[in-house]
Subunit: 312 residues, 3 copies
């Protein structure tokens, strides 16, 4: 693997999932593969799971890890040809080339601003790192994608499915703050690569990027969609058409135990209790959220392993 | 040891102190005991000594360490049943269970707000970690206790005592800001477990939690109390009855060389010079503050070793 | 080496440069020399290159590294005899002595305030660490010096010089914010120790500390100075006489490809594009900035190695 910025960077997801499940049984079986290799983790935004699971994954492989909150360093410029006389102190060209000399892999987390759709969709920050860095880039959640979460979710579904072709639903949930589309996007892209029957349910007007949902069933009736589901992934996202706005906080879309019945509940976390999903669901045995979070380590670890194996 | 959140988690403090003193002679003698083990250090508040000494202790044992300033991640919710539609983004239930999967031991530092006595006394944050985490918790100073400091102080007294049963005084000092009771509490609880003659001296009205001071002499006459003392531990705490308030900044309670005479001076640091204690004391050979800070490493290291030995 | 706070701490710079170039060929050849040694890196200010390259250098030598943003800990007092009743919570005396017990080497980054010239020149913070710490101090950029950058620059010139005695120019550049003199100072001091022909060019009034520039040619005509130069180091600094002020942002002093011709371009980074230097220079093969940044690792590594070899 030359980079991992999108789920499509994986050639054969079934093989990767198998290897991740095998790694989970003995996380230290490749503890020398990362010797003399350094992962630099760059955070433009907050992180708990991603920070800890990715750092742990790298250390399980014997890598050195350096964590930098970019906002504590310099304010970066991403536009070409700018006269940098105002707030930005360093251009991404220099920053990416310089950090590449201290890193064997660079991991980047950068959220969208949810104001300028074209800018967010262009993934200017992530793509600038890809363009200017001389080492592989690992996406720790960008404006439009969260492929480590997507892979962790895929591992979880494969581990716990009972039916050969499980019924999977992605169900929109209310939220008081405008949230990115990254998790939903990566979940959809990942599920499209698995042998599952995927349906998305959300209020009218909350359609996601059609490039991503192409070929996936969309049903505006939440209850009907969830009936007989094996896995229900609940997640808020802000409006995509009326970009970044919140058109509805309709609490009827909050996931309840009554609606979920025997389906397994999935969420990427952090989750707002009794807003996105009621306590009864999170506290039941059907909740997979802790299991999913655990798989973040092995998703990151198998991806780092594949990238390391491909280094010169 | 299954956790270390209070000095009472130690069964036999004399044995622990002996082992810590032995560790100090060769800090790397157990450098393989922490192999493949991870300490996650969570800071809700500032730290210098605790951060560096605990991290160093873990690394001396061969552990991996991941440090997270929680405020850089998500704002946590601690109440049950809340509709999380306002400022908190993740419930401690999920956070503690998730972090437990990335950690073999979780260390937490969280100060009291000194506004709500019952809330502080309930140790809601620390106890929520204990309740929901599936790995042992290490207290790096909580609302009411600082047991790593207490143990370091005990090691110091044992190392440097001349008399078999030394006279130890805890002496209140003035301070411009309201400070927690944690250090005083842990010092008292620790000294009660040692063969020392302990007296507390403070202005009237500055009585500490009587559950903790039960059985300890209290004397409002500072000079008389300190006479013939072997060790004088000087520390400010805010009012406990009129909770969190400062009733007096009486500078007469500042420790001076004249009052201290030949007694050894102890303080947990950081210390405000010429407010809590005059320069002459801190700069004299009778000051043990640097020695105490050094023992923080070995206090943390022996505790981590005991916890590791008890892991499955 | 007993410390590295100034380029003059190096006895024989030619030997050091040779060893650094040798280290660069195999950065892990001394990976056991730092075993059981800890580098504590203290940041009072922002850092990207210095943070990552120095941490990497230490890890290449097998050291443990602990990074602390001092502002997240306590506010330090540097004056003697102060009654610490206001903002500062810990005196440098205690802080430096305490941290020394957790570290084998302490690295410090602290910028000048550019308001009080005498205070900045006295290097009160760096010198307080030297005075009170019981372990060697490594300067990661202080008020008046950046000797790790200076050494990296020297390595770069030695690696890439074609002439036996290259012509080197330090050329002032405009900048919207007041910047320190540290990089310029260390570059000059370093070049004085190499077999180079050094000239400084800047607008009248921008004279640097004459203690440092003594014996170096100064020419106010930028174009004439740069003609036939082999290496042109471009850097802004604020006024030294009218201390910390910006007398001119004259954009004519921005380095252009037309003026540079075939000379090699050097800068310590971060650099403001099209303010300090035009894009065409930075994007040309004559730009050495990425090469310089890479040498930061080996400058730090050889210095750390020399200090470790001198530890008891």
């Amino acid at each position: 693997m030359k980079k991992y910025t999108c789920i499509n960077d994986i050639n054969n997801i079934s093989d990767i999932i198998k290897e991740a499940i095998d790694l989970k049984k003995n996380p230290f079986q490749y503890e020398n593969i990362g010797k003399h290799k350094t992962l630099v983790m760059l955070f433009f935004n907050s992180s708990l799971r991603t920070r800890l699971s990715t750092e742990k994954a790298a250390k399980n492989l014997g890598m050195q890890v350096m964590v930098l909150n970019v906002n504590e360093a310099w304010s970066l410029e991403f536009d070409d040809g700018t006269i940098m006389e105002f707030n930005t102190t360093e251009h991404i060209k220099e920053a990416a080339m310089v950090i590449s000399q201290y890193a064997d892999i660079i991991a980047v987390r950068v959220f969208p601003n949810l104001i300028n759709k074209q800018k967010d969709k262009s993934e200017i920050i992530l793509n600038s790192f890809i363009k200017y860095a001389s080492v592989p880039i690992l996406n720790m959640e960008s404006a439009t994608a969260h492929p480590l979460q997507g892979l962790a979710d895929a591992i979880t579904v494969e581990e716990l499915k009972v039916n050969k072709r499980p019924k999977v639903v992605l169900s929109w949930a209310p939220h008081p703050k405008a949230l990115p589309h990254s998790v939903a996007n990566s979940f959809i892209k990942t599920m499209k690569n698995l042998a599952v029957d995927l349906t998305i349910t959300h209020p009218k007007g909350y359609e996601l990027d059609s490039d991503i949902t192409k070929g996936v069933h969309i049903n505006y009736n939440q209850a009907a969609t969830i009936e007989n589901a094996d896995f229900v992934y609940v997640k808020n996202w802000s409006n995509y058409t009326d970009y970044g706005n919140i058109l509805s906080e309709d609490s009827k879309w909050m996931m309840t135990q009554e609606m979920l019945r025997n389906a397994k509940f999935m969420h990427c976390l952090p989750v707002r209790r009794n807003v996105v999903v009621e306590d009864a669901v999170l506290d039941s045995d059907n909740s997979l959220v802790i299991h999913q979070a655990n798989n973040r380590t092995y998703a990151a670890q198998i991806v780092l392993k594949k990238i390391i194996e491909n280094l010169d």
